[in-house]
């Protein structure tokens, strides 16, 4: 019964599966998708998160930090993330919550307690809990325990995954999962490796395994300009959705830059810097195009 590392629990999520849901964000991901919009979900360790817009410059953080992470110059509040040991002393004294530690160790029962607070909404809307991240299956045992507890409590369980995990983990969580929200980022193995850091072979094997085992799947396809906004990829999405009987829908996720500020907040440099959103009309064209190639419903998420 190992504790897990969670960086957020969001209630009233309407896009992560059927009904009203609570989404649990697991911290840590084996992939490094260059467009990732959850920078605080990448590292598998707790880390300092600094929301600069909330800082009032009170300097209390500098007073308590044992590692001298915080300094104040004319340019403002500087944070030396490399020296930070994530002790949380600064977050404790920050009156405006500009500083916090992203990532909290929690037991599955603790997470479940938070999730069950919204049970009246799940009951009314046929909703439930979604395990997301980061990559939830990177913390396989914890994810399985949470999914099992959720099922015992009568909740509908979704797992949102990159699919990059061991077959054992997948087999283990299978009985406790009603729906997989499964990422499909690139059809080309080499480009997949280039953009995400890993090969897509294992991912596709896992996807087929789930479909063959009768699991309901929704393909989630980020559309990233310059990376996968290409005709062969659109065709591959359509073909995969046609080929796998478990796939019930395709969700198109157009690129947005709203995760960029999170990189600054955790002291990382974003690998893919593009300020503009994918135009809504372009997204609709892509949706319509893919929809013309498959009988499965295609929607913009």
């Amino acid at each position: 019964m190992a504790d897990g590392l969670v960086f957020d629990i969001q209630h009233f999520c309407l896009d992560d599966g059927p009904g009203i849901r609570t989404t649990v964000f697991f911290k840590g991901c084996p992939l490094r998708c260059i467009w990732c919009h959850n920078a605080e979900g990448l590292s598998a360790e707790p880390q300092l998160y600094y929301a600069s817009e909330k800082c009032t410059g009170c300097r209390k953080c500098a007073d308590v930090c044992p590692e001298n992470v915080h300094s104040f110059r004319e340019t403002g509040h500087d944070v030396d993330f490399l020296s930070c040991v994530s002790c949380g002393s600064c977050a404790d004294v920050c009156g405006r919550e500009a500083l916090r530690i992203a990532g909290r160790r929690m037991s599955a029962r603790e997470v479940l307690k938070d999730v069950l607070a919204d049970k009246p909404f799940y009951d009314q809307s046929e909703g439930g809990v979604t395990l997301s991240g980061g990559e939830p299956l990177m913390q396989g045992d914890f994810a399985c325990e949470l999914a099992e507890l959720a099922k015992i409590n009568g909740l509908h369980v979704c797992v949102e995954t990159s699919g990059y995990c061991t077959p054992q983990t997948l087999r283990q969580i299978l009985p406790f999962t009603d729906l997989f929200l499964f990422d499909f980022k690139h059809h080309d193995p080499q480009l997949h490796r280039r953009f995400t850091g890993v090969d897509n072979r294992r991912i596709l094997e896992n996807l087929r395994f789930l479909s063959e085992n009768g699991k309901e799947l929704i393909l989630r396809c980020p559309i990233i300009p310059g990376c996968n906004d290409s005709e062969p990829h659109y065709r591959a999405i359509a073909e995969l959705s046609e080929e796998l009987c478990g796939v019930t829908a395709v969700h198109i996720e157009p690129y947005h830059p709203f995760g960029l500020s999170k990189y600054r907040a955790v002291g990382r440099k974003a690998a893919y810097v593009r300020d503009e959103l994918l135009d809504r009309r372009d997204a609709e064209r892509i949706r319509d195009h893919i929809a013309s190639l498959t009988a499965k419903p295609v929607v913009i998420s």
């Binding site: 969001q10 209630h11 009233f12 999520c13 309407l14 896009d15 992560d16 059927p18 009904g19 009203i20 919009h37 959850n38 929301a51 600069s52 817009e53 909330k54 009170c58 009156g95 405006r96 919550e97 607070a117 919204d118 009246p120 909404f121 009951d123 009314q124 809307s125 046929e126 909703g127 997301s132 996720e253 947005h256 830059p257 709203f258 995760g259 500020s261 300020d275 959103l277 135009d279 809504r280 009309r281 609709e284 929607v299 998420s301």
Partner: protein, 720 residues
């Protein structure tokens, strides 16, 4: 068209009062009522399907129609005369944001079902019969005569429209036009004295009664239109029987909305849905047509309200949970079951309470039976806690009314603070209620409204004005201003004084009196305390307790047919009222807004719509039957699919299952986002959805906010 009407009636009335100086007061008021009806020009517009426009076209026309105002007219008004009962001086209450309200001339909810089924003639008969009762006092007979006199106004008005329609028909060149006008003429010669026989006649009848109600108020606000799809349904069916198409019904509804938008102000409610007398779903074809008309007209008025119950059909809720409606702030959702229980909590049998109606923006009333003081009394919930902690003195200035509660400065536990709070609140409420009662009574005696008395149950048998003990029920809304801030203050005091023993009540007083300047660390600790609205049992417990005290005191103070109904209603006054209120113990600075309606204080960290609903669901709203809305913002994008609409519908139903009375869901648009950008303090709980993630809009830096707004504009453009 925008005819001048409304408050100008009041300017008229000053002149008329003198013409009947020799008459008994109720008869004089009946005569003024008739004179006003006579003075008002009426109009029928080219495409009108029923008649209903009244008022002056220009200021000049209106001025020319005034009766000459006798010299010193204002001074001669009855309430300025010597011997008119005076009121106790409660300036001390007002100085501290505790407003006992004024005389409410409006907020009467007509029982249209009864009016239409028997026609206005039924009242004539009833009053005449009552006049024959040999046991009547002279005073009663005088009032009954005045009621009878006021009924002459009904035909005066309907015949004015009939004559106009006749003249216009004679001049009409187009045959169809002539037919339309003759139909209006025929209807206006029949209704509302006689019962209508189809939908068109019923709308004509109800609307004429609505005009008369407005004119009798001497101000035109707060005249709602009730459970329209229910009381109109038999007439809808009768029209269908005659072969009238739904398109024709729709055209009448569109005109009705237009006209209500013109005369309804922002406070004329009309409702759809609910249950019938056998608790079966009452949704019908007319309900759907009303929603369709609302979506077509896209007007912010009338206030479109929906009565939702456990068995409300999914397809009906789906029609109401609509982007088109949400973006114009419509509809407001009410729980059929919870509102009925709330009305029953006033001592009305649950069977009878099923006939509750929605009046204006949140009042729950018994149509045609109630004198409903909807403007109500504004209760400063901070003040009794200020007095409790500060030895009987407010945080700013002095309180210049005697208080019997022995002052205290030290407390052993939070329960003692609650007890002291209760004791002060009782005294303050007593002052306010006594003043309000005297004011209402003296004004009711000086300016009775015999026409509304005709339409209010028991006024005929008692021969009295509705505000003077005539109505079966007499209710005054008590608006508990800043209740969430008060609750949060209790939570913080309990945590920091009694549990952690880090501070004393004096620290709270010093910090608040300094407006937290020099007390920033202390304020940071206050902000970190649990607050109502975050689904925190302790903080919500404080809110529940603060509200329970108010409810108990209001129940304790009821007298005769008068009841005081606690409410969390603030409308937009949370900003305005807050401006005049000093800093408070929850960390709120001087002049900042207090919490809005049943929502959390602006300082409360937002924990999402479900947490807010769970917190509000913990309040005993049934006992808080003055009514309150909970405001929730959602992204409009969630309304684009049936699945999304069903989720929002389920969200609303969950709130009602948890005990909520009323919820208002607002959809996010670029316009809202721009407002939130310009005034972030007014939108602390604005949630936006980005790529599978919800964030509070205020968490973005300005650059990101602008980008977000741009995206919304693009999406809206794509939708157009």
């Amino acid at each position: 068209m925008n005819y001048l009407h409304d408050l100008n009636i009041f300017r008229f009335r000053k002149g008329y009062v003198y013409e009947w100086d020799n008459l008994p007061v109720p008869m004089r008021e009946a005569k003024v009522f008739l004179k006003l009806i006579e003075a008002y020009p009426v109009h029928i517009e080219p495409d009108d399907l029923f008649a209903g426009w009244y008022g002056f076209k220009t200021e000049e026309e209106m001025t020319a129609a005034y009766p000459p105002e006798p010299e010193g007219a204002l001074e001669k008004l009855p309430h300025k005369q010597e011997g008119f009962p005076t009121l106790p001086d409660i300036g001390a209450l007002r100085a501290h944001g505790f407003h006992p309200g004024s005389y409410d001339t409006a907020h009467h909810e007509n029982d249209y079902r009864a009016i239409l089924s028997g026609g206005m003639n039924q009242y004539k008969t009833r009053i005449s019969e009552e006049l024959r009762n040999p046991e009547n006092s002279e005073e009663k007979n005088v009032f009954l005569e005045a009621m009878l006199e006021s009924l002459k106004g009904v035909e005066m008005l309907s015949y004015k429209f009939a004559e106009l329609a006749k003249t216009m028909a004679e001049q009409a060149e187009d045959a169809k036009d002539r037919e339309r006008l003759l139909r209006i003429e025929a209807a206006c010669r029949k209704v509302p004295m006689e019962p209508p026989e189809d939908f068109f006649e019923a709308v004509q009848a109800a609307y004429l009664v609505r005009i008369l109600t407005s004119i009798s108020y001497v101000c035109c606000v707060s005249v709602s239109f009730g459970n329209f799809d229910r009381y109109m349904y038999p007439y809808y069916l009768a029209s269908k029987e005659k072969g009238v198409s739904d398109d024709e019904i729709l055209a009448i509804l569109l005109q009705l909305y237009r006209i209500l938008d013109n005369y309804g102000g922002n406070d004329c409610a009309i409702s759809v849905g609910g249950v019938d007398e056998n608790d079966r779903d009452a949704t019908n074809e007319l309900s759907f047509l009303m929603i369709r008309a609302e979506k077509m007209s896209k007007l912010r008025s009338p206030l479109f309200t929906a009565r939702i119950h456990a068995g409300t059909p999914k397809e009906f809720l789906r029609e109401l949970v609509s982007r088109e409606l949400f973006e114009i702030g419509q509809p407001s959702f009410y729980s059929e079951e919870r509102c009925r229980e709330a009305v029953a909590s006033r001592g009305i049998a649950i069977e009878e309470a099923r006939n509750w109606n929605i009046s204006t923006c949140m009042n729950l009333v018994m149509a045609g039976q109630e004198a409903a003081h909807g403007w109500g009394c504004k209760v400063n919930t901070h003040l009794p806690l200020e007095l409790a902690l500060n030895g009987g003195q407010p945080l700013s200035g002095t309180f210049d009314l005697p208080l019997k509660t022995p002052p205290k400065r030290s407390y052993a536990d939070i329960d003692e603070v609650y007890d002291q709070y209760r004791s002060y609140l009782r005294e303050l409420l007593h002052y306010a209620m006594e003043w309000q009662h005297l004011e209402t009574k003296r004004m009711a005696q000086a300016y009775p409204n015999p026409f509304i008395a005709v339409l209010t149950e028991d006024c005929i048998s008692r021969g009295k004005d509705r505000w003077d003990g005539g109505a079966r029920y007499h209710n005054l809304v008590m608006e508990m201003m800043g209740f969430a801030n008060t609750a949060d203050a209790f939570t913080a005091i309990d945590a920091l004084v009694f549990e952690q023993k880090k501070y004393t009540p004096d620290d709270f007083i010093a910090a608040a009196q300094a407006d937290y300047v020099g007390y920033e660390d202390f304020r940071d600790q206050l902000l970190r305390c649990a607050k109502y609205g975050m689904n925190n049992e302790k903080a919500d417990g404080s809110a529940r307790r603060v509200l329970a005290i108010a409810s108990e005191l209001c129940e304790e103070m009821r007298a005769e047919n008068r009841r005081y109904l606690p409410s969390l209603h603030t409308l937009w006054d949370d900003v305005h009222w807050g401006r005049g209120i000093p800093a408070f113990f929850d960390g709120r600075r001087s002049g900042e807004p207090v919490n809005k309606n049943a929502g959390p204080a602006t300082l409360a960290r937002r924990a999402g719509p479900t947490a807010l609903v769970l917190s509000a669901g913990r309040l005993d709203q049934i006992r808080c039957s003055g009514g309150q809305a909970l405001d929730v913002h959602i992204g409009a994008r969630n309304l684009d699919t049936d699945a999304g609409r069903d989720k929002i519908g389920a969200f609303i139903k969950t709130y009602f299952a948890l005990g909520g009375l009323q919820i208002q869901v607002n959809a996010l648009s670029s316009e809202t986002l721009q407002k939130a950008y310009d005034h972030p303090e007014e939108y602390p709980d604005l949630l936006v959805r980005i790529g599978g993630h919800s964030r509070y809009f205020n968490e973005f830096d300005n650059d990101m906010k602008q980008k977000f707004i741009e995206r919304f504009k693009i999406e809206e453009g794509a939708d157009a």
